[in-house]
């Protein structure tokens, strides 16, 4: 088994899942091969994994973001379809069809999703909003920009907080989703929506305005400092995935009192997702054991234990939500009813190479704030990858 969850809530979640696995399949042992190269958000581990796969020395199973990121393994014929396991677990009756579509290539499903995170969440400081006289959740990006002006007028220098390059990509994907809507946004990745269309151009221009309200960040910064700015009241808003809840808990913030959250304005009713999933590599030394592991990771018990500990939500829709904390309950509800969109910044919508091009274009845009060049770079990147 190969996973880079070796620290913090991720490790706690993994341990909980292993416990369920050991109870269900007492004759199998779980060994994590990646411990020595863990850390760095998995970037070192991924390099090690890639070389192991290249040299036909695969682990029994490994972790990967569900969606386009897995296509790098699929096109190189490094992972096997797991249709039978998904069917055995209940198929489309327990996993949302929108989600299954996103892990299907050529009619086959290639991974078992274990947990879901939401990308399009605004985290806000209610005290700062009250000070600025803001009482309603803005309906779209323009209304949100107007609110930011109010916050700025009330004396907060930077109404919006941002971090390094990937957090800017994260913000941008949600602005795109808000301006294009879920269908046209999905079209960006199969060629049916042009990257130089009006909605993308407006999004790039909106980004210039949004970043005008934001702090200066440097390309290598992480997401924790921007979240802390909301907690400390030096910023009103931050757009971040729902792992930010962990940081609010860490700082002893009370849900709905010290911090509030809502979907990015203009994306209400859409769930911009990213998911972790487990795979079956081609030539796994013990494929039957690996399949048992996938059965556990996809089971109700496994998903419940894992997600309670990790702070994410189950990929299955039939896991009872009563035991989850308030934020996760609201996310589970939205996941069941909302339209699902795929995150760019976290490998659901685009593969690694395309994401790299988008990230570089975004970093360039962040330094020059030139919307026209940004759109041109994004269009060129899309041309390279789906042409």
């Amino acid at each position: 088994m190969f996973t880079w969850w070796a620290d913090g809530s991720e490790k706690v979640g993994l341990d909980a899942l292993v416990e369920v696995f050991n109870a269900q399949y007492p004759d199998l042992t779980f060994v994590n091969l990646a411990v020595a190269v863990a850390g760095g958000a998995g970037s070192n581990a991924k390099a090690k994994l890639a070389s192991d796969l290249e040299n036909d020395n695969p682990p029994d199973s490994f972790q990967g973001h569900a969606g386009a990121e897995l296509t790098d393994y699929i096109v190189n014929e490094q992972i096997e379809p797991v249709n039978d396991i998904i069917d055995e677990l209940g198929g489309a009756s327990v996993f949302p069809q929108d989600l299954l579509d996103r892990i299907t290539v050529g009619g086959d499903i290639f991974s078992v999703p274990s947990n879901i995170h939401r990308s399009n969440v605004v985290w806000a400081n209610p005290a700062v909003l009250e000070e600025a006289g803001i009482t309603e959740i803005p309906a779209d990006i323009d209304a949100w920009l107007a609110d930011m002006q109010k916050v700025k007028d009330s004396g907060v220098e930077t109404p919006l907080s941002v971090g390094g390059t990937w957090t800017i990509v994260h913000l941008f994907e949600n602005v795109l989703l808000a301006n294009l809507g879920a269908d046209d946004y999905a079209g960006l990745f199969d060629g049916s929506t042009a990257w130089d269309s009006e909605g993308v151009t407006k999004s790039a221009e909106d980004m210039v305005k949004l970043l005008g309200f934001a702090n200066n960040a440097s390309d290598g910064d992480d997401w924790v400092a921007p979240t802390d700015m909301v907690i400390d009241g030096t910023a009103a808003y931050n757009v971040m995935g729902d792992w930010a809840v962990g940081q609010f808990n860490e700082r002893d913030q009370v849900d709905n009192e010290d911090y509030v959250y809502f979907p990015v304005p203009g994306t209400d009713g859409v769930f911009n997702f990213l998911a972790d999933s487990f795979t079956l590599p081609v030539g796994a030394p013990n494929p039957e054991g690996a399949k048992d592991w996938l059965r556990t990771a996809g089971s109700v018990d496994g998903q419940k234990a894992f997600n309670l500990a990790k702070g994410s939500i189950p990929a299955r829709t039939d896991v009872p939500s009563d035991d989850f904390p308030a934020y996760q309950q609201s996310a589970i509800e939205s996941f069941g009813s909302d339209t699902i969109a795929s995150s760019i910044a976290h490998g659901s919508a685009v593969n690694l190479a395309w994401l790299d091009d988008i990230s570089t274009a975004t970093a360039k845009f962040y330094s020059g704030k030139d919307a026209a060049t940004f759109v041109a770079d994004l269009t060129a990147a899309a041309q390279n990858h789906i042409g």
Partner: protein, 306 residues
């Protein structure tokens, strides 16, 4: 027969290293150049189906392709600014400290250790700390150097440092590198000064030369081989520098991109071996332009002396 006896043991002694270097240095350089001339395709999933499309044509067109992209030219420019500032900075501080220590300050050992110490810190660790020191946050959220400037009442001097949208921003990226390697250059110069016998200074003083003139006409000319070595060492380190920039600016930075960071994204994010090989070959050529004249020069002076 007796002539064979003299060269055979010598040859036997160096053969293993000739073979190892032949395979692992020159062989792999050759392999890399060969890779850089390949054509390649890219497979991707579009609309849930796998499609394969040509990516590079192969041949020298690969070089034209890379060298003509604006991003690569930007990276080369960044490298030029970084190298120039890094060289001037380390040479200046290295020489300055060496002269100061050479004058015989008290507790020379302590100062020498202090100046040399940054070299013991890994570039990744230094990069993490300098990322914080050179943070572009200003005003209420300022940290690092900007906060220090505020405390000193020098608010106007706050800057975005290397994150600035400027042609010269990479000059700031050279600052951590200068901090790290000036001590090394100092040690080189100090060794050079120590190698010059005191008699020469005495003689110059008796002839009535001022201290400045002693340095200018007696000591510095004898340090020029050391200065040249230092230039070459620092220069090629600057061109190969990756870890510091990666730790400071992350993988996808545009303002801080140099050929080595582009190589990382080409190889590991894009999975594009051909372009990474082209990039590596271009970088090798640039370093060769610097190092080969130096090797020719040292060979020639050694021959003249011998």
């Amino acid at each position: 027969m007796s002539r064979v006896k003299t060269w055979l043991p010598g040859l036997a002694l160096v053969t293993p290293s000739i073979i190892l270097i032949g395979v692992f240095v020159y062989g792999l350089i050759g392999q890399n150049i060969w890779n850089s001339l390949n054509s390649s395709t890219r497979r991707a999933v579009v609309n849930q189906e796998i499609v394969e499309r040509p990516l590079h044509d192969g041949g020298y067109a690969n070089y034209v392709k890379l060298l003509s992209t604006a991003d690569y030219q930007h990276a080369l420019w960044n490298l030029l600014v970084l190298t120039a500032v890094f060289l001037i900075g380390t040479m200046f501080f290295g020489l300055l400290w060496a002269v100061l220590l050479e004058k015989g300050v008290k507790a020379e050992g302590v100062f020498r250790s202090i100046y040399l110490f940054p070299m013991a810190v890994s570039m990744i660790a230094a990069g993490i700390v300098w990322r914080w020191l050179l943070s572009p946050q200003q005003g209420g959220q300022a940290i690092g150097l900007n906060q220090l400037l505020q405390r000193l009442g020098l608010d106007a001097l706050q800057s975005s440092w290397w994150s600035a949208d400027s042609r010269w921003n990479m000059a700031w990226m050279a600052v951590p590198a200068i901090w790290q390697l000036s001590g090394y250059v100092m040690a080189l110069f100090l060794a050079g000064f120590r190698g010059i016998s005191d008699d020469q200074r005495e003689a110059a003083r008796i002839d009535g030369a001022s201290e400045f003139k002693i340095y200018r006409h007696v000591l510095f000319p004898q340090l020029s081989p050391i200065a040249l070595s230092a230039l070459i060492i620092i220069g090629h380190m600057s061109m190969k520098m990756f870890d510091l920039i990666y730790a400071l600016a992350g993988p996808n930075s545009y303002v801080a991109s140099v050929p080595t960071t582009l190589m990382w994204t080409q190889m590991f994010n894009q999975g594009d071996r051909v372009m990474a090989a082209v990039n590596a070959t271009v970088l090798l050529a640039i370093v060769a332009v610097l190092v080969v004249p130096y090797l020719i020069y040292t060979n020639r002076t050694e021959r003249n002396q011998g």
